[in-house]
């Protein structure tokens, strides 16, 4: 079964500190992984996806198949990064359907 685990419900850091939001997954196929973010009073939106290998708002995430992880990192946190972050796995495989399996989310709080 597909599963995404985000072990931390809350991560609190000071502005300028490094941030790592953990995500581990369980999936037998070839995974596609995403990070979605929900800022206060805004809609859930895509932050980044592993196949793009890009940095968005200073965030990066590397897929580690050996450790089945997709941790989200930023070297210097900003107050505007405060939000709810969800790791998600695309469980489309061979079904022809696609759905996102989400973790329970981690609230990042960046204090001045």
């Amino acid at each position: 079964a597909q599963r995404v685990t985000q072990p931390e419900k809350l991560l609190s850091v000071f502005k300028g500190a490094p941030v790592e939001l953990k995500c581990n997954y369980s999936y037998s196929g070839s995974p596609e992984l995403f990070w979605y973010v929900q800022y206060s009073r805004q809609r859930l939106q895509l932050l980044l996806r592993h196949i793009s290998r890009e940095s968005i708002k200073g965030f990066t995430a590397d897929l580690n198949k050996g450790e089945t992880s997709f941790h989200l990192k930023k070297p210097f946190a900003q107050e505007e990064d405060s939000a709810m972050y969800y790791c998600a796995l695309s469980a489309s495989a061979n079904t022809g359907f696609q759905k996102l399996v989400f973790g329970t989310g981690t609230r990042l709080l960046v204090s001045p």
């Binding site: 809609r43 859930l44 996806r49 696609q98 989400f102 989310g105």
Partner: protein
Amino acid sequence: GAGVSQSPSNKVTEKGKDVELRCDPISGHTALYWYRQSLGQGLEFLIYFQGNSAPDKSGLPSDRFSAERTGGSVSTLTIQRTQQEDSAVYLCASSFGLIRPTDTQYFGPGTRLTVL
């Protein structure tokens, strides 16, 4: 153009009543999804529509839940005989419907359902 819209934004109902939640996807998006966001539970997949294919209903928690999508556009999620545990934020998302790579899902603002 406009993003995904959902109505109503808030719904308070009494236990045992039926409710209908509406989703208007982005024009041109063939795929439409419903999720439920419960406190402390993350987002739970409910149902997925892709074009004219039969929907994937594998996430619906009980037979009290049903959804339809008319004309390949607007979707309605219906919850019959609501229970207190149905209280949650119901999110709708749409996408172009690409399979590989999985395309971006665009989310609506959600409907907050409270069952008293």
